[in-house]
Symmetry: C2
Subunit: 400 residues, 2 copies
Amino acid sequence: MPNISSKAIQMPQSPIRKLVPFAEQAYAQGKTVFHLNIGQPDIKTPEQAIAAVRVADLTVIEYSHSAGFPIYREKLAAYYRKNNINIANEDIIVTTGGSEALIFGFMSTCDPGDEIIIPEPFYANYNGFAVMAGLTVVPVTATIDDGFALPPIEEIEKKISSKTKAIVICNPGNPTGYLYSKEELERLRDIVKENDLYLFADEVYREFCYDGAVPYSVMNLEGVENNVIMIDSVSKRYSMCGARIGALISRNKEVMSAALKFAQARLSPPTIAQFASQGALDTPQSYFDEVVEEYVERRNIMVEGLNQIPGVFCPMPKGAFYCVAKFPVDSTEKFCQWLLEEFDYEGATVMMAPASGFYATPGKGVQEARIAYVLNKESLIKAIKCLEEALKVYPGRITE
Amino acid sequence: MPNISSKAIQMPQSPIRKLVPFAEQAYAQGKTVFHLNIGQPDIKTPEQAIAAVRVADLTVIEYSHSAGFPIYREKLAAYYRKNNINIANEDIIVTTGGSEALIFGFMSTCDPGDEIIIPEPFYANYNGFAVMAGLTVVPVTATIDDGFALPPIEEIEKKISSKTKAIVICNPGNPTGYLYSKEELERLRDIVKENDLYLFADEVYREFCYDGAVPYSVMNLEGVENNVIMIDSVSKRYSMCGARIGALISRNKEVMSAALKFAQARLSPPTIAQFASQGALDTPQSYFDEVVEEYVERRNIMVEGLNQIPGVFCPMPKGAFYCVAKFPVDSTEKFCQWLLEEFDYEGATVMMAPASGFYATPGKGVQEARIAYVLNKESLIKAIKCLEEALKVYPGRITE
């Protein structure tokens, strides 16, 4: 039997996957499980997206252009302009989710053995895309104490080697919910300019900014037009994760022409989902206003609720729909497993994502967990109650 | 400005892309262009697929399981059983087109620097997937004189080195339309078994076999259950290329568990298109009977028509909807460009894919072109007439 590849061995497993068997066991025991572990919102997909699929001409479900339907790219460019991001149609390649945009972006710019610097904690699947492209992730640690702000520039500069090819950020961030300020992004601009690096920014949570905060896109950083690559996706914006429509966006013509060759090899992004995504662009502002209002309420319930539990600390995020909280426990990996395996409060328990999987530095985030506040408020309140009760009896509880 | 990657530079351009500007010029001149260059059939997508999309619950377009919706995999396994391919649900990972199945397959089994042997001419995008995985394609040349049958075993064995990890075939074949016999496949089985290699078989044209020929799947080769990886797709079967739903299929549990990690990193294959693909599995046999009858007529018109043109030779393929023909010209790259740029017959011309792009050996296939008979019969007859007239006046015509 031939061997599997070394990449296959290196490919990490998501921090949540390990818990899945324990969740299944909890279901089998008849427990209610509050899923705070996933980024699949319960928000309805806009009716404009669904209507576009219902009326689409599907007589022959044909390939689109490898960069996406021209008319969709045109409408997408208009959407960005409305968001003060001034880009042309040809700066956009429509991809199969943000995932494919990252894979094409990494493969177009970085050679195997190159290093990419990512502030940790970061979206765990970046590890997988790095393995696929043969890259080494070099983390620079952000801390919960200052709400996961951008680490000091000196810390980032220390990580730059002759192999460094890019810095990768997610803004607003998964898993932290942290929204980088214009000043923080300008500091990154200075670093990438000085060191001739690419700056990848995953901006898929753009619409989810709270308390009047306005997201600042890397596309608006001046003087680094050829360094900046933006990753986008309809998944979260329109609560249509299953569509698998994303975009790779850059003004660097050489990068775009390279990425197009990767796009051509796989022929076309999904076409029915492009119809849905095009329709989604007609979603009225009122939809987002309602969604944001809902998420703000959920966030407030969640974060305030967490901070009221003795020993728990959770900074207040300004974006996305995640937060990372610190628990008074030996290890959130153990705690999260125990919650599913051993615990229930009135027949219910909670599933969270242990944060260690979002750090590349071993030993970091051991007491932290990511919480996605994608459930309705009533469920969130019950979930917090579960956590509070659980921490009273968890055997690995640490008291300071 | 940072450099693009060496992979980006290595990524080949499809042999057709170079002709696109000349096709656009031909349109601008008001010419009718008969597109014999593409694999996008004009056949209607089965109504069962479209109906499934129309009625699907799209309230929240959610992720599916990373390996695809369980119910779709179950129905897919039943489809294979009906086709005498006995596989279990867990032997299937649903992918974003056959393209992603190949990428996951290569990345799960081969290390950068490894070699894969492919009989040439072969589907040009295999080159792109090989570049993405860092693999070297080692061609073994099939010839038009025997209709592109499997090259002699000795020729294949000569190509095996310590770096060889897999043999890749497409059966029935794009671009040749050649259908490997059971005996040819058993010869491949013996080689992969003896040398401990993987055998990838792209079987997406399974339904398109003619003259009573029955395709033999690599999944039915005995004694190589852990070596064989099948690639499949709904694109051609149901004329729904834009769905982007494929499958990676193997009984090798280690490979499947590796491939699942790659699948998990990109979260989910497209869900709306999975609904369409699931619906498509209810397509009645009469649909395929009609399609096959149509393709047989088209093939006969095309191949017989080509062979009646003085100096042209085209073997009669038994499958898919392509053929490779040899033309009495200096170079089909030049000829195909000239057809678009300089020629018309009664206001019409023809676009074909020069075959050199389907060979990895430099200098091979210079006089050959791939023809996709995906147009209606009337257009095919006109296209043949165009070619006949063109060869009378083409300046690079070679007379033997």
